[in-house]
Amino acid sequence: MIEILRETQFPILVAMLLLGAVAKAVDRSAQGPAAFLPVGVRRFFGLANAGIEAVLAVALVALGGLLGDLARGATALLFVLGLATLYQLRKRDPEMGCGCFGGLSTEPVGWRSLTRSGLLALAAGVTVGLPGTGAAAVTGFTAWHGLVLVAELAVFAALSPELGELVKRLRNPVPCELREVPLNRSIRRLRSSDAWADSRAFLTGTEPVDVWRHGCWRLVRFAGQRRERPVDVVFAVPLNGMRKEVRVTVTGTRADTEPAAPGEASAPVSRSQGTPTHSSRFV
């Protein structure tokens, strides 16, 4: 039974290290001990921390023998250092989150974070001396291993305030007007839309000449040509979910030309038929 307990720590440790590394790598807020460093080195500290955790996770999976024991010992040392740091952090700024999982760790350091760090240090410590690699141990898992794993996961879930924060964020997502949305995502959505397929015949280039944002919409302008005259083909790509459809308008490039407003759409854009100078379509 003791061997089962020791071997079960591998997937727990690897999952915690990898999740922590990813969360720290993508986070730009100053949570945890990084907040006490000079502004210029905070990001470097976060990335270095994430890198160390990722390397240790890979080492736990792949290394056995002496090197594996070194990796396991280093993991235990990392969690012990983390525990000591959290203790100091709690004394210095009781309102500060631990930063263990980047921006998700906003709850002030409390007994749950401290206990979790202590248990993870213990978990890493008991794996020292196990034969073979972490990967080999996991491939030999039995039903008993599964039971122990589920029980341990439940304990760590109960000790993780980040789960509550994650649920809160999923229930109350940032409104689309305020959400940062990568341009690539909007372009991908545009290119998979019916409006794009219907308007491609007018485009003279596939790279946008102008891109701008208006709340829940991203507008993308392309150069185009119709009846041998230059036109602007402008798409409005919704940023809130997949239900709204991409809109498009095609208009002459003269500055005094007013494009058609939504209620004034005159004729649909189509590959097969000619269209008037001002046309607007809502696909």
Partner: protein, 317 residues
């Protein structure tokens, strides 16, 4: 507005509706900026890009050059901006000369000289705090150190800002340590907050720099993927503003005077995104800066540049 940005508004209106991107609508008050040619107790003459203009001075006309000075401090050759009485376009209601402002994060300190970073799209401003203003500046800007916020109004002196009046109470933490905005469940159509101002011409007369009479605002929540760009240094401000781009138009109502306008977004307001202060001009509880108006628009909307701010409601279609 920079060339081509007007097209964005037209296309937005065509695709999303005219109420979403309304046409710009100037505030009612007339604002004129130019070089002072002559001044007498009853008449002020300005050289503007459209020719000389004369304004009648009355007993009610106010003057500002420095701290509450009178018209005797005005000299020919100075950069002057006049707000006219709304019903009488040639009667001066208030006259300002040499207005300057630095809003941003302190980048360098060299004894008594500060260099203030005013945003990624503007040149930093060199600031000197004269001895006569140092007491009042020290009270509201106790930490003149790199990384801390700075906002002061003063006078231009050979390209250097003489800071005379603090325009905010400096937070006790560096800009990078500002608390994160609490989660926002839904975006509001109208957002209350404070507006401040900046001078796109940096004290230059409209002859030398036509930006001196630019109408519009610098918006503190410009989309990073488009105009704000890779060097964007704006923070997530404490006012929950929808993300927009240059060329968008927004409605603004001065809560102190009731004056309103629809103004275009003409610049990035990265510097004001770091501030989470409130304006005490008309006692509004709203925190956060929702716009940084150009000097001309700020005055036209009823603001007093020496006060630094007024409370407003911003509406995005």
């Amino acid at each position: 507005m920079p060339a081509g940005l007007g097209d964005r508004r037209r296309f937005t209106a065509a695709l999303l509706g005219r109420t979403v991107a309304p046409e710009p609508f100037d505030p009612p008050a007339r604002v004129v900026r130019g070089v002072l040619v002559d001044i007498s107790p009853h008449l002020l003459s300005l050289a503007t890009p459209h020719g000389d203009e004369r304004f009648v001075l009355t007993e009610a006309t106010g003057f500002w050059r420095g701290t509450g000075s009178g018209f005797s401090d005005l000299r020919p050759g100075q950069d002057v901006i006049v707000r006219c009485v709304p019903e009488a376009a040639s009667v001066a209601e208030r006259v300002w000369s040499g207005l300057a402002r630095a809003t941003g994060v302190i980048a360098e300190v060299d004894e008594d000289i500060l260099r203030v970073d005013t945003g990624h799209d503007r040149e930093p401003v060199t600031v000197v705090i004269p001895y006569r203003a140092s007491g009042r500046m020290q009270v509201r800007h106790p930490r003149l150190e790199p990384g801390y916020l700075f906002d002061a109004v003063g006078l231009w002196d050979d390209g250097v800002l003489q800071a005379l009046l603090p325009a905010t109470s400096q937070p006790h933490y560096p800009a990078a340590d500002a608390p994160r905005r609490p989660p926002v469940r839904s975006a509001a159509h109208a957002i209350a907050g404070m507006v401040s101002w900046y001078d796109p011409a940096r004290g230059g007369s409209p002859h030398a720099n036509p930006m001196g009479l630019l109408g519009g605002l610098a918006y503190p929540a410009l989309d990073r993927a488009a105009d704000c760009g890779a060097v964007c240094d704006r923070a997530t401000g404490c006012a929950a503003l929808p993300l927009l781009s240059l060329g968008a138009t927004v409605g603004l109502v001065n809560q102190c005077t009731g004056e309103s306008a629809i103004l275009p977004v003409v610049a990035c307001g990265a510097a004001v995104s770091h501030f989470c202060d409130r304006c005490v001009t008309c006692d509004s509880p709203a925190r956060g800066r929702i716009a940084q108006l150009t000097l001309a628009s700020f005055i036209a909307l009823g603001g007093r540049p020496e006060a630094g701010c007024f409370n407003a409601t911003l509406t995005v279609g």
